[in-house]
Symmetry: C2
Subunit: 372 residues, 2 copies
C-alpha cells in the first residue's frame, strides 16, 4: 500500500511532517489498495456480470420491483439522493441509503455495523421488511425460471439451478468493482507525486484535516475511516416528523433487534450502534463513513441531515451537535480555513462520478419453454 | 341439529324416504347449526367488530395494501370473482380464491386442507409470499401505532399492546359470522316444513341430487360437503398458460411444501392434496367444497374453470374430467333433469347475497401523539 510516509521524499516534506507528528497514533491517509476479496467468493468477470444484472433485478424483492438499485442509484452517488431512503411500500425508512461506493473496503455493513460482509448485507436488504421484503424461496423460484440465469448461475457456481445464496455472492462481487479509481482522484495523484493535482486551497485543507481540525483522528487510513462508532450529535432529519410511518419503521427495527420495550416505545430517534449492542453508551453512535467520493454522495450523515460539505465542516467547527459523546470540541476555524477543508474533502473524490448503465435484464421463460 | 329425519313427519314423507334409502350410508342434507367455536377463541361482539376492521386493513400485509378483503370481497361472493386470484404483486396466484362464506364449518382450510383452523388460515394468507407477504412483526408494529387498536386489543385480549397473533383470532371470529342464515334459504325453509319454499323443479332436483346423480355421496350433511379430497379431473384454467408468473408461483408453492425436485420441475398443473401428503395417489385431489351459497360464489372449482352452475352439472353429467380418479360415472341426465339439479343447487343459497360494508378503519397516531 502506498502511504504518505512512502512518498515523503517526493512532496512537501515539511507539510507532511507537521500533521504526521500531530496524529502519529493513527494510520495516515493513503491511496486505496485493491479491495479485499473473500476466499469463499472469488471474483470472475462472469460472476461480476451476473451480479450486475441481479443488482438491478426486481425479482429479488417481495413485490418484484425493489432491486438493490432502488436505493442505490449510480446517478445519486449509489445512494438514494434524498436525505432519507424511501423504504418498501407500506413502510418508511428512517435512514439515508448509504452509498455502496467503496463498500468493498468496510469490515461491516449498514450504518450500525450489523452485518460483516457485503454478501450478508445484500441478503439482509433484499429480505428485510423495510427494504426488499422478499421471501428467499420466492426470489429463488423467479430466478430459476429465467433461462439466461439458469445458464449463468451454472457457469459461475456450478449448480444445476440458481440458488438465491449465490445471488448475494454475485451481487457482492459486482459491488467490489464499484470502487475509487485512484488515477482520477486529485488527492491520490498528489500523493503519487503530482503536486499540481490538488489546488493550494486543498493542500492547506489537507493540513488542517490532519492537524488543527483533527479530522484524521477518525477519518484515517486509505478508506479515510477508522470504521469505529461515534455519537457526534447529528440533529434529527427534518422530514422524520412528517409521517408516522417513519416512527413505526424505526421502532419496528428496534423491536426486531430485541431491545427492551421501554426503549423501543420511547426511541423517537435513531439509536444506531445500540441496535446491535443494546449498551446504553452506544445510543446514537454510527460507524465513521469513508470520506472518499463525497462529492457524489450528498446529502450527508446517517440521516442525510446535512446537505453539503460546507454544512458538514461548519457542523464540526461548532463542536458537533447536541448530545454528542465523541468528545468533539469547537475547532475555531475561520471561513477561509473551512473553505480549504471543503476543498480538500472534494479532492478525495474522483473528477467524475462513477456512472454505470443499467444492464439489460434477461426474460422469464415463455410458456412454451416451460413445456420442454 | 335439525336433520331430514327430524322433519319427516311434517313434509313429503315419500320423497324424503326415497333418497334417504338410496344413500343411507352418508349423513343426509340438513340445516346448519351454529358454527363450532374453538374453546380458545370465544366470540364476543367486541372481538368480532375488531376482526371486521382487521379483515379490511392493509396494515396486515407486506406492502400495506393487501388486506384479507383483497381476495375475499363481499360483492364477489367473498372470493375474488375472477377464475384465478391475483396474488401479491410480483407473483400470480394459480387458484381461485375460495369463498369464506361458511368457512366457519370446515375442519381444514385452503383447497388442499393445509391448515386446520381459520386462525392459522388468516396467518398463513397474510404472511405467505403469494398473498399478503407480510412480516409478522412489521404488521404488529403498524397495529401498535393505531390508538384505537391499542384500546380495542386491550379490551378484547387484555394485552397492553396489540399482538399480531390476536389479530388472526379476531379475524377468525369475524369470519365465523359470515355464515348462512337458514331463514333465507329455500332449501332450509323447505326442510323446516314450508313446502312452497322450493320450486317443483328444485324439489325434483333434490331427488336427483340424493338419488340418481349421487351428488350426496360427497356433498352431504349440513355443510353439503364431506370435507374429503377427490380428483374429479377439473380441466386447467384457461388463463393459466398466459403468464409465466402462474407457473413460477405454483412451482414455488410445491417447492415450499418440500416435494421432490422432479415433481416441482414438472408440476405444470395444481397437484392439490399432494402438496400436503406428497403421496402420488393424492395428485389433483381437492377438498369437497360446500354447495351452500353457490349462487353468490361463481366461478366454480379450485381454479374457477367452470363459470356457471349449468356447466358444473354438465361436467358431472359427462362423468367428470380427464384423469379423474374419483370413480365418477356419466350420469345420463337429460336436459330437464340437469335444469332441475341446477334449480336445487340454487335453492341451497340465501335469496340475497350476504353483503357487508367495508368498515371505517382507524387512523395511525399523529406525530404529536407519539410524543405523549
Amino acid at each position: 500500500m502506498k502511504t504518505l510516509s512512502a512518498i515523503l521524499t517526493g512532496a512537501s516534506a515539511l507539510a507532511f511532517a507537521t500533521f504526521a507528528l500531530a496524529q502519529d497514533d493513527v494510520p495516515p491517509l493513503a491511496t486505496l489498495s485493491p479491495p479485499p476479496i473473500p476466499d469463499d467468493n472469488r471474483m470472475t468477470p462472469e460472476k461480476i456480470a451476473l451480479g450486475e444484472q441481479l443488482f438491478w433485478d426486481g425479482r429479488l424483492s417481495g413485490n418484484g420491483s425493489m432491486p438493490c438499485s432502488a436505493c442505490h442509484l449510480p446517478d445519486a452517488g449509489w445512494g438514494t439522493g434524498s436525505p432519507i431512503s424511501f423504504g418498501y411500500p407500506g413502510t418508511q425508512h428512517w435512514r439515508n441509503s448509504q452509498t455502496i461506493l467503496n463498500s468493498a473496503y468496510y469490515n461491516k455493513g449498514f450504518w450500525e455495523g450489523s452485518v460483516t460482509s457485503l454478501e450478508s448485507q445484500a441478503k439482509g436488504a433484499a429480505g428485510g421488511a423495510v427494504a426488499g421484503n422478499g421471501d428467499g424461496s420466492m426470489m429463488e423460484m423467479r430466478l430459476r425460471f429465467v433461462p439466461d440465469y439458469v445458464r449463468d448461475f451454472k457457469k459461475v457456481f456450478g449448480t444445476e439451478w440458481p440458488q438465491v445464496a449465490h445471488a448475494w455472492d454475485a451481487i457482492a462481487a459486482y459491488e467490489r468493482t464499484i470502487v475509487t479509481d485512484a488515477s482520477k482522484v486529485p488527492f491520490d495523484r498528489y500523493l503519487a507525486g503530482e503536486e499540481s493535482a490538488m489546488t493550494e486551497s486543498a493542500v492547506r485543507g489537507m493540513e488542517i484535516f490532519n492537524g488543527e481540525a483533527g479530522c484524521i483522528s477518525c477519518h484515517n487510513g486509505a478508506l479515510v475511516s477508522d470504521q469505529r462508532f461515534y455519537n457526534i450529535g447529528v440533529p434529527p432529519a427534518a422530514e422524520f416528523s412528517e409521517d408516522p410511518l417513519y416512527q413505526i419503521t424505526l421502532r419496528w427495527e428496534l423491536y426486531q433487534k430485541g431491545v427492551p420495550e421501554d426503549v423501543y416505545r420511547n426511541g423517537d430517534n435513531d439509536l444506531g450502534l445500540y441496535h446491535v449492542t443494546k449498551q446504553p453508551k452506544d445510543k446514537g453512535k454510527f460507524r465513521t463513513p469513508s470520506l472518499r467520493e463525497l462529492r457524489w454522495t450528498e446529502p450527508y450523515m446517517h440521516n442525510g441531515a446535512l446537505s453539503d460539505l460546507a454544512d458538514v465542516v461548519a457542523f464540526y467547527n461548532g463542536g458537533g451537535g447536541e448530545g454528542q459523546t465523541a468528545g468533539l470540541q469547537p475547532l475555531g476555524l475561520n471561513e477561509a480555513q473551512q473553505a480549504d477543508l471543503v476543498a480538500f474533502l472534494e479532492a478525495l473524490s474522483m473528477d467524475e462520478p462513477l456512472l454505470l448503465d443499467e444492464p439489460e435484464l434477461p426474460e422469464t421463460a415463455t410458456w412454451s419453454e416451460f413445456q420442454q
